[in-house]
């Protein structure tokens, strides 16, 4: 056997094991999902072909529409503040020294907690029944606020919980982006007597726009799939005011056993995430060809 032929088989031997798992546990379910979504199917394997029936059902399902609205509102309340706060923190903490290092550790810390622990902690912070915030309000002579059972406050409450939990990763990404900006640009700007605001607007932000785009794309995709916080904090209540799309998928599949319909909703969510990600990418990068 010559070297090229040996390389060929060696190549498959090296990439084969991963591709096998990838095909069996990702590609096959992905294809199965499309097929199942065209069936009236339950969790126990009973199937009947109904074409696009599940999708037309989704169009007219008021519960799904409410969940879609809740999910979009959550994403809007989480992604922009998260990106701005993370950017400000990264700008402030991108400096040498012990003080900054300790604060970086503090702001990264919540990201290692699981959703179960985060919601456990925040449930007892938010509860009007002697929760941490309620205790503070009481000390200030104010009545406790029932964050999780007020339909107008439940979504902001989940958003704040999520912000607290998710802050570390974007800060890390943006800090990493800032480290890549060559230092001599800043020296040149300092020689030109540019103000800090000008440096930020004309040098720093353009230099890390790719990183900011990555943060927004990842966070949008993640928050549109928000599940654990809603399921554990409120179970979607009160009256569906905090039911998200993925929580609804969970209820339809494992509560009502309507696997076909749940899968169709999941496919719609998949399409929505892909479309939004591509849109964000296009909006940020469309001018890049002309500019450079």
């Amino acid at each position: 056997m010559n070297a090229a032929a040996r390389d060929r088989w060696a190549g498959y031997a090296f990439v084969g094991p991963f591709l096998l798992v990838y095909a069996a546990v990702l590609v096959v379910p992905l294809a199965m999902g499309l097929v199942i979504s065209l069936h009236r199917a339950d969790l126990f394997g009973r199937r009947a072909w109904i074409g696009l029936g599940n999708y037309t059902q989704a169009l007219g399902d008021p519960v799904l529409h409410q969940a879609l609205g809740n999910t979009i509102l959550l994403a809007l309340l989480i992604v922009p503040p998260l990106t701005v706060i993370a950017l400000l923190l990264a700008l402030a903490l991108n400096r040498p020294g012990r003080f900054a290092a300790i604060l970086r550790g503090v702001f990264f810390s919540s990201l290692v907690l699981s959703v179960t622990i985060v919601t456990l902690i925040w449930r007892f912070i938010l509860t009007p029944d002697a929760g941490l915030i309620a205790e503070g309000l009481e000390a200030a002579g104010h009545a406790p606020i029932p964050f999780l059972s007020d339909p107008d406050l439940v979504i902001p409450a989940i958003a704040v919980t999520t912000l607290w939990w998710s802050l570390g990763f974007p800060v890390m990404l943006i800090l990493a982006g800032l480290q890549q900006v060559p230092g001599d640009i800043y020296e040149a700007a300092a020689l030109d007597g540019a103000s800090r605001w000008t440096v930020l607007r004309r040098i720093t932000l353009p230099a890390i726009r790719r990183t900011l785009l990555l943060v927004v794309m990842l966070q949008t995709a993640a928050q549109l799939q928000l599940f654990g916080q809603a399921q554990l904090l409120t179970g979607g209540g009160p009256g569906g005011a905090s039911r998200t799309i993925v929580l609804y998928i969970f209820e339809v599949s494992f509560g009502r056993w309507e696997l076909g319909y749940a899968t169709a909703i999941a496919e719609l969510l998949f399409g929505m995430i892909i479309a939004l990600t591509l849109l964000q990418y296009w909006l940020v990068t469309r001018h890049e060809g002309q500019r450079t």
Binding site: G11, F18, V25, L103, F107, F124, W164, F227, I249
Partner: protein
Amino acid sequence: MSAHRLSPLATVLLVLGAAVMLAPMAWTLLLSFKSNAALMADSGAAFAGPYTFENYAAILKGSLTLQWLANSLVVATGAAVGVLVLSSLAGYGFARLEFPFRRTLFVIVLLGLAVPEQAVILPRHQLFAWLGLHNTYPGLILPSLTGSFGVFFMTQYFRAIPRELDEAALLDGASRFTLFWKVLLPLTLPAQATLGVFTFLAAWNDYWWPLISATTSDYFTLTVGLASAQMNYAQTSGLGFLMAQAVFASIPILIVYIAFQKQIVRAMAGTAVR
């Protein structure tokens, strides 16, 4: 790197922000050392003694928490080891070897980065039911092994290693596998540490998949077990115990985080720019 000093206002805001980050954790820690009875009477009692270890003692004797801890360790370690083995092999193959459809296969793997969990989780649940994989360790670990990120990450890392190393080793008569195992793999250890820690963290904290795959309490991971405990307790009757469980469940992951903080942060520097 900006050499400007932080303004006093920025410093105050940062310290306040840090307090907001830490207060919930500190409060949890305090609650975990209070007896359930004392908290039932007055949850404000957390801010004063007496403190007790009884909640931690209750976890260590009898409760299922230790079993869940063991399950989480097995699942997260299995996921991390599995991802490292598969991604290193595939990364080397994609970076260094020439074979038919190499580019096509690589693109197919990269497309996996765009597939959200929701698009596959329900059919995967069905598939694993047919294969009898629910309530088993392989059933909990396998979904973690499909991550395209690890393959992409290792491919990039192998590509950055100079090819002269390969040629020298091959001239010395080394086989492809010896070259991979003895020469190149040791050079990728920093990447292995990073990828391993991230996979471990993600598998340790995963909730959605173990929630639907592990349905008997013997196979609960800590995330699912603690969730079930939350549901079982009335609002405040077991508050101290629940908080002790939360602290207890966070200890292993905090150890991993503190031990590998440097690698985690350094790795971010590598991924953010691409």
